[in-house]
Symmetry: C2
Subunit: 460 residues, 2 copies
């Protein structure tokens, strides 16, 4: 009988452990040995749930853990916690690990290597950025560190730098915990994953819950007290006192290991893979999750999008392929949903600036509608913005801001984008209608009709 193949996984969260679990289901331990290394205290958790843990909606961190290290081990995966992989030797097909508790180092050979090293929050090179009380929100360890500091109590002053998804969600969580919260954002409006006209609706909702929103403002430094803890966030015009600072400036791929080993990286620093999630040019090295670039099917380019749902899909694809099956990850269309207070925020496809950067000529329309038939109790207003290509009428993007029932409507547009539908085709979509669920024209169809008219009016 042939010796078992060795699968080594670097990173014990969504992509890595999905890959390990899928491969384990397909191949017995006698055929495939699986070893996984995680430098943190937690495995297979939902980082997206951290704001809800901090906000008090969720009992953390246990509730955020999909599968504990022990459960993985019981399923035949040798998961080593608090163990960092410090070096990758591609030619020798081995990685070097370091036990963070004992300091012990060891080399491990592999037949298949999975890089699932995730992402790290952007930390701008500002004075005071490494002070105590300044937190990224990327891992459960980060969440625990926040709760162990001033953010764990209430009545403090919190400043969130950056008003993207994480910034906005964290601002709400900190407000609900009883802190006084200021969000400072460089762009014109919060949520620069939306066009500014839609972002303005998010600003209104944030202000409505008592969050101070400061836009078009650059943070220049962080002030630190004699004890080494942050005391204020400094901008060009003003100083904002702060007991705790949260970084919501987005994340970058954590690919230092890959970079040192000479693996191919894209513009964002993310690993470049083929459709089977194999690192380009490397037959037996795979990568997935927040450390890779994904293909954007609408823009026709690869980009870095850190999202747990992609990471899980990557892991499934990698696990299937290592396990002897066949699967691919064809790409994304850029869907994201979020929530601040009772405002639901969603987008898919391209923003105006992204469409222009892709070389596309387009029309953009905005339509107001409601979540249910206007006469049905609980009908809430909703704004849908839609972009379509001039000439062809192909759907390019949708943004939705509204209350209950707004956010997940973006999925219709996500599928339509994947199928490269025109907005005219969309006007005929057979979407579910009944008064408790939708007006007789679903809000997405109202926008599609308006977009189709705009395409006709714009000509070729």
């Amino acid at each position: 009988m042939a010796a078992a193949q060795r699968m080594v996984v670097v990173g014990g969260d969504a992509a890595g452990m999905s890959a390990a679990s899928r491969a384990r289901r397909l191949r017995k331990p006698g055929e495939l040995e699986i070893t996984a290394f995680e430098r943190g205290h937690f495995s297979s958790y939902s980082a997206c749930g951290i704001p809800y843990w901090l906000g008090g909606d969720v009992e953390g961190p246990d509730a955020l853990i999909a599968r504990s290290p022990q459960e993985h081990r019981e399923r035949g995966i040798d998961l080593r916690m608090r163990t960092e992989v410090t070096e990758l030797d591609v030619a020798g097909q081995r990685v070097r690990s370091r036990d963070l508790e004992s300091g012990t180092e060891a080399w491990h050979g592999y037949d298949h290597l999975v890089l699932a090293t995730g992402a790290r929050p952007v930390r701008p090179p500002l004075e005071g950025i490494d002070a105590r009380g300044v937190h990224g929100v990327q891992t459960l360890d980060d969440g625990q560190a926040l709760l162990d500091g001033p953010a764990g109590s209430s009545g403090r002053r919190a400043v969130v730098i950056g008003a993207g998804y994480i910034g906005v969600e964290m601002a709400e969580a900190l407000t609900r915990r009883g802190h006084e919260v200021t969000v400072i954002e460089r762009a014109e409006e919060p949520m620069s994953t939306l066009d500014a006209d839609m972002g303005a609706l998010v600003r209104d909702a944030m202000c409505g819950m008592g969050i101070e929103v400061v836009t078009r403002t650059e943070v220049t430094a962080l002030r630190t007290g004699p004890d080494g803890a942050v005391t204020a966030v400094v901008t060009e015009g003003k100083e904002y006192p702060a007991d705790v600072v949260v970084l919501g400036l987005g994340v970058r791929p954590e690919t230092s290991l890959a970079e040192a080993a000479g693996l191919p990286l894209g513009e964002s620093g993310g690993l470049l893979t083929d459709l089977a999630m194999r690192v380009r040019g490397h037959e037996n090295i795979w990568a997935g999750g927040d450390c890779v670039e994904v293909w954007d099917l609408v823009a026709g380019r690869s980009r870095h999008i850190a999202l747990g749902t992609h990471a899980n899909k990557h892991g499934q694809v990698i696990g299937a392929n290592i396990g002897g099956g066949y699967a691919t990850f064809p790409g994304v269309v850029g869907t994201a949903v979020s929530k601040v207070c009772d405002l639901e925020i969603a987008r898919t496809g391209l923003l105006e600036a992204q469409a222009a950067a892709a070389g596309l000529r387009f029309v953009a329309v905005t339509a107001e509608s409601t979540s249910r038939a206007g006469y049905y109790p609980g009908a809430r207003p909703m704004t849908v913005k839609m972009l379509a290509e001039r000439g062809t009428g192909r759907l390019l993007g949708v943004q939705i801001v509204g209350r209950e029932g707004a956010g997940k409507r973006v999925d219709v547009a996500a599928v339509a984008l994947t199928a490269r539908m025109t907005v005219e085709q969309m006007t005929a979509l057979d979407l579910g209608y009944a008064p408790p669920f939708s007006p007789v024209w679903d809000p997405v169809l109202v926008a599609a009709r308006k977009a189709a008219a705009a395409v006709r009016a714009a000509g070729g």
Copy 2:
């Protein structure tokens, strides 16, 4: 200047008045005269809202009226209420109307005729079926008649015959009004628009709200009292006392006018049209709404599906074409959503029996999931059933039963069916994910993964 063309519309609800309104926006009164005839007391209303009116959720009937006769007239449409069209003279290009109040009759010539005569509830040829207290629920006049009878008070005994959408919604409405409700259904389970295994979930919810559900039971007669009002519903084994009876046996196209004129009808009795909604073989006769058959894109056949959302689309297409534009209605995939108590019920595509009848070989899977991340407050269970074609893996149908957040998820499948996606392709769909909106694998994707595995296992 040429004389204005004459557009005549028969039926003043969704399809007819959408057609009139769209044509009006495209053509001035000097170019196109529009006359519409409606035999009832209401125009442009939401018949789908009637159960909610009766149940007390909606102030009816006014709230259910999208546009009053007066508003239509102010927009330049000569809408004649309580006026029935009694004859269609195709060769002479004219229709005969009868004013139901005065009895006055008149002929009206047309250049374009729009037939939007709707549907009528099925009334089986049973003894007592025409007794007082036996109601269909198709028009606002029907709703008003119900409220004017015993159903308008509370504490009576109500029997609903048929447990389709209308039957189930009416059963809930009557229960909420304080009546004791029995539903009698011929099939194995309620909601025969679902497979029986999914219908069983609906039965549980109905029973949970105190509705008596009697299945596999045929109604044989209705008992009538000396005053001519219904007193009981008789089945083979038993008699159910009833102060009011609601017919929930579905509807048939109301095409007696068209039939008498020799226009082409399908198996269901619905008018047959081309893709522009022109009655086949008749250059200047158009038809839409509940009186036509629509093309089923999944089954590859035409069928009768009475739904307000289709009627509105038909009207838009007809109005655009008469108004000098160009539009088509490519067909439907069979989407429907409904609600009983807090149970959301949705379907699109084909049921098992429909797929078999279409000559398709398929696999069927059922997956349990939740509406939100399992740890997020308010996450509710959901069952998704999915059918896929053997060999190709093409999606054939989806049924969903669950609580809040379940129903509209069917839209993802509706778009995927329209785009003829495979279930394997669906596993990669970039649907919106965040803990308040979805588990990291959306319930539809969970079902798609299971279906893709079943397709692989089934082979060619």
